[in-house]
Amino acid sequence: MSALSVEGLKAGYDPDLAIVKSVSFSVDYGEAVCILGPNGAGKSTMIKAIAGLVPILAGSVHLGKKTVAGLPPHALVRQGLGFVPQTDNIFTRLTILENLQIAAQLLPASDRQSRIDAMLDMFPDLGGRPGELAGALSGGQRQMLAAARALLTEPEVLVLDEPSAGLSPKLVGQVFETLRQISDAGVTLVLVEQNVRAALALTGRALVLVDGQLAHDGSTDDLHDNKLLGELFLGHRAKGAPV
């Protein structure tokens, strides 16, 4: 049984135009996987389909033993999926504490405060001023809050859409350090990323999506060979290979 398995997934906003054409893969418990690919390949769309935000046109999605394709986003959270969108991933008009309280609401009442405290400890930048509006946070701090919120309910699978997008190199480092800690703690991690180097350093397995289909699914070691990446991303062809 895998933590997350996807079979023949076809997804898109318009029934006549599938952005994700047919994708199958599975992720084991505790694995850290990154999803790479050129712009427009459908990485974000695929992730959002798994998270219940984009219509699934065909295929299935399983979390552990449970069939989850077609469930609305809030049901998926209860099934153990944590999703951190790329942008607009916190409520700027609510306070930091309130953002966390919403997530905590899903837990039994006795656990709520301790989990909130745990997240505030894990992310000291947030712990200092929980009553402040989330909108006052900087870019990097917002990502922290978004991750904290998703982690609060101890999801089995944590899916993140480009967590380092728009951040300075130093912040990217901090984000990935945090992700490493999360992965080391045993959380199954699925990461869509444009920052290939950081993603390959963090994860053990890479899926490369091109034009809505998987062009590669293997260990990240394979991808350290830049030639392969060049082919997949930039369409380079080896000399003499068919077009």
Partner: protein
């Protein structure tokens, strides 16, 4: 200037404010200007009247006025029934009309258009069922008691003002201190993200209709108690309701109440100084001024 206008304004403002709160909640969470909201007020009043009549048929004692008010225990009981029915009406309308349009991804303006059509149908249905003749909750007359400073108010009127204050306070606490309130504010900021956070957005939508329709019913009963009940009562309040909601800032409960009070007072003083025929122009002028000078309203956000 006669200070009585101040009391008259507070009273009218309470009704407008309560109605505007429901409207502003729907607007911020459902994201459309709901033209049927006025008709929830009217239907609330008529449904309560009907339940009251039924109760009176069952137990005659319920109609007897309870001192110092003009109505008996039957009315608050009937109000519960009327509110429940009005809520069912709103939920039903969402199920068969607005919800379907939302599910289809229809543009907001189409939903507004549908609400306009539904509002005319609802209003005319009232007229068909009950005729256009005004009706009343009670025939008991009330003596206005002096309050000092040349103002007078009947016990009914004071009750209305008091109840409104309690309701607004309660709602404010609900929205700012409870999990449901947090969820409502979250959905109003970003419904898709709310789902990702684990909030059942469809449930919040239902709760919004419940609160909105419930408040509308209470506002309608208040207006019906203090003035009269007629099919167009809700529609005639629609422009003041919109003006109050926009003046207060869409999504703000204190704003909607304050907006309602301002409009109520402005109307009362206008009636006194210029004349009753021009009352409806007050809301319009205030609306235009808000849109020209500060479109986000008193407590709203700049992006309006």
């Amino acid at each position: 200037m006669n200070p009585q206008a101040f009391i008259d304004g507070l009273i009218a403002g309470s009704t407008i404010g309560l109605g505007a709160i429901g409207l502003t909640l729907a607007y911020s969470i459902l994201r459309f200007a709901n033209f049927t909201h006025g008709d929830f007020l009217a239907w609330g009043a008529y449904l309560t009247l009907t339940v009251s009549g039924l109760l009176g048929g069952l137990a005659a004692g319920l109609g007897a006025p309870v001192h110092p008010f003009s109505f008996g225990w039957g009315l608050p009981l009937a109000l519960l029934g009327g509110a429940a029915l009005t809520i069912l009406l709103a939920l039903g309308l969402d199920r068969i009309l607005f919800g379907r349009l939302r599910a289809r991804g229809a543009d907001v303006i189409i939903i507004v258009m549908a609400s306009f059509g539904a509002s005319m149908a609802l209003r005319s249905l009232l007229e068909f069922i009950f005729t256009a003749k005004p009706v009343y909750f009670t025939n008991a007359l009330q003596i206005a008691k002096p309050l000092g400073l040349g103002m007078r108010a009947t016990p009914d009127q004071l009750l209305v003002i008091g109840m409104t204050a309690v309701l607004v306070l309660g709602l404010h606490l609900l929205v700012t201190r409870t999990a449901t309130g947090r969820a409502m504010r979250a959905v109003s900021e970003n419904p898709a993200l709310a789902g990702v956070y684990g909030i059942d957005v469809a449930q919040i939508v239902r709760i919004t209709w419940v609160i909105g329709a419930g408040l509308a019913c209470i506002a309608g009963v208040m207006a019906g108690l203090l003035v009269q009940i007629r099919p167009y009562m809700g529609f005639d309040l629609l422009l003041p309701l919109f003006a109050a909601a926009i003046l207060g800032g869409i999504g703000s409960i204190p704003g909607a109440m304050l907006g309602g009070l301002i409009i109520g007072l402005a109307e009362a003083f206008t009636v006194q100084i210029i004349g009753a025929e021009w009352r409806a122009a007050v809301s319009f002028i205030i609306l235009v001024l808000v849109l020209m000078l500060r479109p986000q309203g008193l407590f709203g956000r700049k992006e309006a």
